[in-house]
């Protein structure tokens, strides 16, 4: 049974809700190895073909999946321009996926603007589907590199107090990371956002069912106190386009800004994370401090995605 939970061979990576702790830890182990001895992975996917179907813009996720596949010797079929896939001409996702499968690919990495698109794709094709972002729903592989960052920086995830700040409602990285962290012991979560941008009800339901301790911090005046208690602060961009009232955005954006003044309340060991890109919510002044984990976090995209390819297609 344990082996089944650990094995990702041939598996879809659709949602972090499907993860198990042994599986996540296995990804961490292989990512450690990919960092330590990347040469061991070169050529390990030779003869394999990976399709990258990106129907939404992407920089970090696309490039790390691409570079990881190339480093491991896989053929890459890049379908980044929606024109190439005819999706913009009105072709269904179903037809596009069937066409890609017909090219004899071994795996499809997909980013799509619709929530649930990855689950649907996994049902449509026989080959493994890796969700590289499904609208505002989830970004499970980002959650693996986020959790991996925490584990690398702190040695363990168990027992940590983690704050999520910014747009928690429309962020796809937040639900995935919440689901992944909920696999660890005694993790406490604080969701710092105005009511309109708070975590979605299904995320709260998941935490209640898992018995994870969490609270919602909706008053700006409470933010410094909460930040002072955290081990990790995960910041996401406030998405201007989501605000019904633009003046509300202008009012809030300053209050949800992580700068040296806010961090003067923090523990010396607090790590600040951000899935990037950032806009105004994270002051570049923070970059030079030990709190800034975000560039290191981004760099783990490569070993974590190599680990995923290895476990799904190789191993």
């Amino acid at each position: 049974m344990g082996e089944v939970l650990v094995s990702l061979k041939g598996a879809d990576v659709v949602s972090s809700k499907d993860f198990t702790r042994p599986m996540v830890e296995r990804v961490f182990e292989v990512a450690d190895e990919a960092l330590r001895s990347p040469e061991r992975f070169s050529g390990s996917l030779s003869g394999k073909r990976v399709a990258l179907l990106f129907v939404e813009p992407s920089t970090r996720t696309y490039s790390s999946f691409h570079v990881a596949a190339r480093k491991m010797g896989a053929d890459v079929l890049p379908l980044v321009d929606p024109e190439m896939t005819s999706l913009t001409k009105g072709e269904s996702l179903y037809d596009t996926l069937k066409m890609i499968e017909g090219y004899g690919v071994d795996c499809i990495v997909m980013r799509h603007p619709a929530r649930g698109a990855a689950r649907y794709a996994a049902d449509v094709v026989r080959v493994p589907v890796i969700n590289a972002g499904s609208g505002s729903q989830e970004h499970p592989t980002q959650s693996l590199l986020d959790a991996y960052t925490i584990r690398r920086k702190r040695g363990s995830i168990d027992g940590l107090r983690i704050g999520f700040l910014g747009d928690l409602r429309f962020s796809r990285t937040v639900p995935s990371l919440v689901y992944t962290l909920s696999l660890f012991k005694d993790v406490t979560m604080h969701f710092i956002a105005p009511p309109a941008l708070q975590v979605r009800p299904e995320v709260e339901l998941h935490l209640r069912k898992r018995g994870v301790s969490y609270d919602k911090v909706e008053k700006q005046s409470e933010i410094p106190r909460v930040v002072g208690e955290l081990d990790v602060l995960y910041v996401t961009r406030l998405q201007k386009e989501r605000f019904p009232d633009p003046s509300e955005y202008e009012r809030l954006k300053g209050s949800y800004r992580v700068d040296m003044e806010l961090l003067s309340n923090a523990r010396p060991t607090l790590g600040v994370m951000h899935p990037l890109p950032r806009v105004d919510e994270l002051d570049p002044e923070v970059d030079g401090t030990p709190h800034a984990w975000y560039f290191e976090q981004a760099s783990y995209g490569l070993p974590v995605r190599m680990a995923l390819y290895h476990l799904i297609l190789g191993g």
């Binding site: 949602s15 809700k17 009105g90 072709e91 269904s92 996702l93 179903y94 799509h112 603007p113 619709a114 929530r115 649930g116 698109a117 689950r119 649907y120 499904s134 609208g135 505002s136 729903q137 989830e138 639900p175 979605r200 009800p201 299904e202 339901l205 069912k209």
Partner: protein, 157 residues
Amino acid sequence: MEEGLLVRKIDWGTVIDHIPAWRADRVLRLIDAEQLAKDPEVSVIVLKNVPSRKYGRKDVIKLYHHHMSRTDAALVKLIYPTVTVNYIRDWKVEKYQPELPDVIEGRVRCPEVTCISNSKRDPVVRRFRVLKEDGYIQCYYCDAIVEFSSIPDLAVA
């Protein structure tokens, strides 16, 4: 005053009984209206706020010349657990106890407009998992949750 005094018994059809008072319209939304309309012989009799020995007041729906699907019966029972469904054939009454479904397919639309199951291009079968202990259904694709009581608002034919 029993509802029998208001409307006569039917010899063929479905009686959806013990609906909470004033909720009959919401139950009707859950019944596949297209199927009903196909048959010119069908009549729908709705009784609202009639006395009930068990519950004080209740609504009752009689579908004359129509047997509602067992799937729809299960959906109604999920939202209104007090409901009983009787199928009538030649005056004979079959008391049907619908089993609560684990999955609802086709009949409920996801409230998330950006969910793939609302795509007009793709032939996605709408599907929800039933979280019985929590009182929600959850979209199989996008994870959106819907309280049982809100299901009639999202029912599709």
